[in-house]
């Protein structure tokens, strides 16, 4: 990402290349909007600045792709949903603003499952995005477009959102890094809400170093989002007081060679830091694809060979995570989608004879079947008479999951696990089987319920050439250490 600052290549060249590649790969259906004019204009401005010797930001001229649920002034911010067709935002999301203040250039908005409801990007109003490695397979989701944009090297990085795996799963399906930060690390202001208590803004990158840079730029408190945490990411000391064991992160070091040394403690290069890596017993079972299990095993052996300690974890509450998730999240989804009523912006169904018809028609036409399914589940679990039996019970179970993670992190520094039970599946394979689709999230949703960070790292390919990803999970606010530790897992 540092090409511009080195002045080896102009911002305009980079943006032109990115736009060309985007068009070249148009059959993958990655972008819902290409920001040609705006991106080139911005690139030329940055080149002018560099020519004049003015200071430019840390991302000056770096082309990136923006998931369609981030509000930006360019293009229509639709979250790939019909009901938001025609909506141009007067507002820029805080995360987008921070990136652009550093000179990053958005070349396009990326396709996603409408309102981020899905695990394959097949629920998009714009049709599915294709997998970067096999066009007959799904990109994963919901941030499918962003993952493929990075995997096909169209852009240096892309934004995503992760409510139950929407960054980590497509990252693993397309062989790139994908981070779901600690809940509250990056502002959600200006990001079309899916489920407020689990939504996280994060990124897709090709290296851990790039991930670190993006996090250092976007982390921190935002007065416009009261759920944001103070900027612990860039704090000198690890402020994670709720973390079990402090492993100070090494000062950000980009470039080559640094990852050949083991993870560093106390800011010094050191060969004797030994991480305690947890492996959850229940995850090594038959529901997980054999090649993924093998990949996990070989990484465990690799870590052992590097002198790290492997700890078996018993986390019995995790088997309830998916059920809890599919109560709490639809409830918040139903609530957050109430505002799309055809009255003020976006789609308004024609020929509605009265107000109820206007609501009914607009929402019937504007939402995808998966949106409707979640709205109905959500409204059901919140109904008077059912609240205690479903929502309240799920909220209590969620507390158990939070506690179980806290306990796990008193025994280990990180947890290593699969991201999803299988590599990228075929297009259409699970579209008509919602439960099978929901099971895609079985290993990813517990992190969102607990608010802990997880990073997908590419660890190899299947016999068929499909990428395999694993996720490393850390305690709340351990994002920086997580990124550092991922370098340890990187293959030579």
């Amino acid at each position: 990402m540092m090409k511009i600052a080195n002045k080896k290549v102009s911002a305009e060249r980079l943006v032109r290349d990115a736009l060309e590649k985007a068009k070249h790969f148009s059959d993958y259906n990655i972008f819902t909007f290409l920001n040609e004019e705006g991106a080139l204009k911005k690139a030329r401005e940055i080149d002018e600045k560099i020519k004049r010797g003015e200071e430019v930001g840390r991302l000056a001229g770096v082309p990136y792709a923006l998931k369609d649920n981030f509000l930006s002034l360019e293009g229509e911010s639709t979250a790939s949903a019909h009901i938001l067709e025609g909506f141009t935002s007067p507002i820029t999301a805080t995360a987008v603003k921070k990136l652009e203040d550093e000179g990053a250039i958005m070349i396009g908005r990326t396709n996603m499952d409408a309102f981020a409801h899905g695990s394959s990007t097949e629920n998009s109003y714009f049709g599915p995005t294709l997998n970067a490695f096999d066009k007959e397979r799904v990109a994963g989701g919901s941030s499918g477009g962003s993952a493929v944009a990075v995997a096909l090297d169209i852009v240096e990085f892309a934004t995503g959102t992760d409510t139950g795996g929407s960054i980590r799963q497509p990252a693993s399906f397309n062989g790139v890094y994908g981070l779901k930060p600690t809940y509250g690390c990056i502002s959600r202001y200006g990001v079309v809400a899916m489920a407020s208590s689990t939504d996280c803004v994060g990124f897709f990158t090709k290296t851990p170093e790039d991930m670190d840079l993006l996090m250092s730029i976007t982390a921190g408190r935002d007065p416009k989002d009261m759920t944001t945490l103070p900027d612990y990411y860039n704090a000198d000391t690890d402020t994670g007081s709720d973390d079990s064991r402090l492993v100070p992160a090494r000062p950000s070091s980009r470039g080559s060679g640094t990852h050949s040394a083991p993870v560093v403690a106390d800011g010094r290069e050191s060969s004797d830091f030994r991480a305690r890596v947890g492996v959850i017993k229940d995850f090594d079972n038959t529901s997980v694809n054999a090649e993924i299990r093998d990949a996990l095993k070989s990484k465990i052996e690799f870590l052992k060979s590097r002198g790290h300690e492997i700890i078996e974890l018993d986390m019995p509450s995790l088997k309830y995570a998916l059920s809890v998730y599919y109560i709490i999240v639809p409830a918040e989804v139903a609530s957050n989608l109430s505002r799309y009523d055809g009255v003020r912006y976006g789609l308004r169904s024609k020929d509605s004879s009265n107000l109820d018809k206007l609501y009914e028609n607009t929402r019937s036409e504007g939402f995808m079947p998966e949106n409707k399914r979640r709205i109905m589940i959500g409204n059901f679990v919140l109904s008077s008479g059912f609240y205690d039996a479903y929502f309240l019970k799920a909220a209590k179970a969620r507390t158990l999951i939070v506690e179980e993670y806290a306990k796990a992190f008193s025994d280990c520094d990180f947890i290593l696990s699969p991201v999803s039970p299988s590599p990228a599946f075929k297009l259409g394979e699970k579209v008509n089987d919602p439960v099978a689709m929901y099971l895609e999230d079985v290993m990813s949703v517990s992190l969102n319920l607990a608010g802990v960070p997880g990073l997908t790292i590419p660890v190899g390919k299947t016999k068929d050439g499909l990428p395999i990803g694993l996720q490393i999970v850390g305690p709340r606010r351990s994002d920086k250490r997580l990124i550092e530790f991922s370098k340890e897992l990187r293959d030579e």
């Binding site: 649920n69 981030f70 509000l71 911010s77 979250a79 938001l84 909506f87 935002s89 007067p90 507002i91 999301a93 959600r188 202001y189 200006g190 990001v191 079309v192 809400a193 489920a195 407020s196 208590s197 007065p223 416009k224 989002d225 009261m226 759920t227 409830a331 918040e332 139903a334 609530s335 989608l337 109430s338 505002r339 009523d341 009255v343 003020r344 912006y345 107000l355 609501y359 409204n379 919140l382 109904s383 008077s384 609240y387 929502f391 909220a395």
Partner: protein
Amino acid sequence: MKYIPTIGIECHVQLKTKTKLFSEVDNDARGKEPNSCVSPVCYALPGMLPRLNGEAIRLAILAGRAMNCEINPVSRFDRKHYFYPDSPKGFQITQFYQPIIGPGYVELPSGVKIRIEHAHLEGDAGKLTHFDTYSLVDLNRVDTPLIEIVSMPDIHSSKDAHDYCKELWRLMCHAGVTYGDLYNGNMRFDINVSIAPEGAKELGTRAEVKNLNSFKAVERAVEYEIKRQSKLLDAGEKVVQETRGWDDGAGKTTGQRSKEEAKDYRYMPEPDLPPINLSSEFIEEEASKLPLMPSDYRKKFKKIIREDIIEILLDYPELMRKIEELSQSGKESQLTAISNLFVSVLLAEEKSVEYLNDLPSAKDLIELSEMNEKKELSSTATKEVFLRLFDPQMKGRGAKNIAKELGLIQENDLGALEEIVDIVLAKPETKKAQDDFRAGEEKVIGFLVGQVMKESKGKANPSAVQDILRKKLA
């Protein structure tokens, strides 16, 4: 049969914060264009998040303490869902499970105590205006902070219902948490009325009348409901649990929605707002800013100001506070006099409401009442100077100067008065009256006093003049 009515009241109070409850946009839409006080948060654009206005928390603490309520150290917000164009988010942000204000009570002037169950913070909804074939939406009121005060069913007459609402209004105005403009809906009342035969252990089925915006309407609606429900029970019919509307013109309530049709609001904790955690130090510090309340004033001025005058003054917190200010330096007799002037002279003025925001200084008012006590001003002149003290063009000049400029100061100098009396008595036209008086015709003294007043151009103190005349004619 004789029935005992039982009434509980919910009251919505709009708080007078500068900005709205959940975004930084003007909260005072009075006199502004429709939809001109609307933020992207009020408008519920995608991706917008509420941010809590700390000022509303402070005002809620004051409001709570004004009603002798506990303030809960931890409270939370919840979402109350319903579809209607006055609610852009599709839900109202309120406090359903853990409100900020806990139990307390309100004491009516009669001494009756009405317990408060709780009070919570919430955002107001927008306003719809309906026309033949279309409706217009105005979102200016969206997210105006409200506290909803929920009473216990402690009220048993229309008079107490009226007095409770009025006392709540006074408490909120004195606490300074609302503009208290009822006409513009700053306070709105929902009443729950049921009746049960005397001696019955269980309460009857209640009907709710929503959206009353005057004390009189509350009183009339309660009376109407008691009559309506009594008639039903007398005829052996049942009262239906329902929501009713009030037609002020017709003086009637009409059915709107029965229990079966009641909405399911699908309450849910508001995930975008963290809980409100208040330390006891913060609560006490804010609560200490609560000014004197009506009950404090009643106690303090009980022996100085007539009860009915106090009750009127309590409707005008500015006047009551001025009396309080005067009590620091003025004498009791002066407080009595100025209170009377406030009520009988100032409030009789058309412009009195404008004057309330900028009252004369305590110094001016005390000076005025001193002049009256020293008989330098007649009671008519006192009233005239009193009103001039409120005149923006006269303000700050002082009672004495104004009185001098207007030539209203009474002549009390006995030497000077005697000279004038002598002049009058020397006039031939007073000769007959003098004789008549000496002959015992008491009432001609009035004629003579009048002549002296005329000679003095009205400045003579009439009672002093009479004393001198009596001496001279003795």
